[in-house]
Structure formats: C-alpha cells, structure tokens
C-alpha cells in the first residue's frame, strides 16, 4: 500500500497549533537545562530520546551534579505511568499499522498526538500516516526548540506572561468536549477531575494524572457493570 501523504499532511496540519505553542516551552526547557549545567548536546540528546515534556521538566528540576541516575529514572517513570493506560487504549486503533512498525509508532505516544488520534479514531479507523505526521512534527519541534534554548542559553522570560502555558490546557479541553456524549462520561469526568485535583494538592510528585485517570476508568468499569446487570434483569 502506498504511503498516504495526504493523511501525513493532515496530521502535520492538525498538530501545527500545538507545535507552535510548544516552541517557547522547548526553548524554556533548553534554557533551564543549561542553567542546571547540562551541556547543550546532552539536553538535545535528552529531548530526542526521552521526548516527554512534563517528565523532562521534573527531571531537570531534580537535577544535581553528578546526576542522581536512579532517582531520575524512577521519577520519570512515575510521571509517565499514564502512558500505560493511553497505550492500551491507543493499541486498539492500530489495526492499519503493520505489526513490525507498531513498537516504533509507540515512541510517538505523546499526550497531544494521542488525544488527536483518539479523537480521529472516534470517526473511523486511524490512518498510520496521520500518526506519523503528528509524531514527526512534534519530535522535530521539541528537539530543535531544546537546541535553540540550550545553545542560546539566555532567559526567555516566563511563557505564562503570554498565556502559552495555558495553550495545552485549552487544547485538551477542546478535545475533551468531543468525548462528552453520555451521562456516564460526565460521571467519569467528575471522578477523574476531582481525584486528580485532590491528588495534586495532597500527594507529592506527579502521581495526580495516574490517580485521576484510574479513578475515572474505575467509575466507567463499575457503571458499565451496573448497566449490564440491569439489562440482564430486564431480559428475565
């Protein structure tokens, strides 16, 4: 089958607003890494191989010299534990991906790409080229943004001043709205939102996403069981 360039282009175009909003974040990351004494080449290597914004910010915050290898590895694992849930859900939409490239495709499992892909999968099978388009655009942006920040090494000010930090929240809210279709989703959102907010305020570290996500999934599981039982009763 020929590579679907039109889908690749569509992926790049869909993710472009996110890429644009992420440029100052990449620059900021490179700058912070440089301030912690991480060499520019090492910061770029980290962005290219880890490719996970939130985890990298947390890691750089914890960074000391020499680097606490075990603490960093473990912390990054915890911050990224949400990927496990995301990956299980995403794997269901990989029917059109050749099995051999699936492990490589999982490397691009970034919150933003994944959210767009799940939204696209609501309408029909996910075209692999759409995924590659988003993933490669995001990766190039993240690596080059880091490089610019690290090599220029100057403070670029606080992205919050321009509302860039809110662009990610706003993007996720917009995608989230598309998932709200039944009252059960409302119950899922209420439980995951309150659990995550509560965990953020009470549990140190970055557990809140996993805690909130699990709370929402658990509620969906329980509600489905109840509905299934009711349907079974109705059949009797």
């Amino acid at each position: 089958m020929a590579f679907e360039w039109s889908e690749f282009r569509r992926g790049v175009i869909d993710i472009l607003p996110v890429v644009t909003a992420a440029v100052p974040i990449g620059l900021l990351f490179g700058t912070l890494a440089a301030a912690k004494g991480i060499a520019p080449t090492e910061a770029v290597l980290m962005s290219a191989s880890v490719f996970a914004g939130a985890a990298q910010f947390v890691a750089v915050d914890l960074w000391t010299n020499p680097a606490p290898v075990l603490l960093l590895t473990l912390t990054v694992f915890i911050v990224n534990i949400r990927h496990v849930l995301m990956g299980v859900s995403f794997a269901r939409h990989m029917g059109r991906f050749p099995p051999a490239v699936r492990p490589l495709a999982m490397f691009f499992l970034v919150d933003e790409n994944w959210a767009f892909a799940e939204r696209r999968a609501l309408a029909g099978p996910l075209p692999p080229a759409y995924w590659w388009g988003m993933g490669i655009a995001m990766w190039i942006q993240w690596v080059f943004g880091t490089a610019l920040g690290a090599f220029l090494g100057r403070s670029l000010g606080n992205p919050a001043a321009f509302g860039f930090d809110f662009a990610f929240t706003a993007t996720f809210i917009c995608i989230l709205v598309g998932f709200c279709r039944t009252w059960r989703t409302g119950a899922v959102l209420a439980s995951s939102g309150s659990a995550a907010a509560l965990a953020k305020l009470t549990v140190p570290g970055a557990w809140y996403i996993a805690i909130g996500g699990l709370a929402g999934v658990a509620v969906a599981y329980l509600l489905a069981g109840e509905a299934g039982a009711r349907e079974a009763e109705a059949e009797l």
Binding site: L72, F162, G163, V188, G216, A224
Partner: protein, 101 residues
Amino acid sequence: MSAGYVTELAIAGMAVATYLTRVSGLYLMRFMKVEGRTKAALDAVPPAILMAVIAPVAFATGPAETAAAVVTAIAALRLPLIVAVIIGVASVVALRHLFGS
C-alpha cells in the same frame, strides 16, 4: 570526565523508562478481551486522562484559570479547535490581569 558519563547514563535511564511506559500498552492488549466492562473502561481512558491532566490547572490553580477553562469549553462547543484555543489563551491572559495573578 565521570560526570559526563553519569549524565549520559541518567538520560539513557530516563529514555528507557519512558519508552517502557509507552510500549507496554501494545503488549498488555494481547492479554485483554475487549468487551463488556473492559471495553467501557478502555473507552473511558481518553476523557479520564485528559481530565486528570487539566484538573490541577482548571480547578486548583486560581480563579483566572478556572474561568478561562470554562470559557474554552463553551467556545469549543461551537467553534473550530484552533479558534477555541486562541480564545482560551486570550481569556487567560485577560483574566490573570483582571485578577492580578
């Protein structure tokens, strides 16, 4: 000289840890029957995770962020994504100014 080596080791550890979280879903799927309650639970993953990601900013940061989140959600009901995001970002800047945060 050893500091450089330790840095590379830390980066490798972070990269492997992250990739493991990303790829594990692919293999966990093989042991799951996607039907009934399991399907309902998996269908809830995107909204549950997205909500968990935004909740601290939307509900536990400040009045400006909470109000801007509501504005964004309302805009997203009617408008294309990019327009709603721009409205959301503009409103957070205005509201932060208003609330003095």
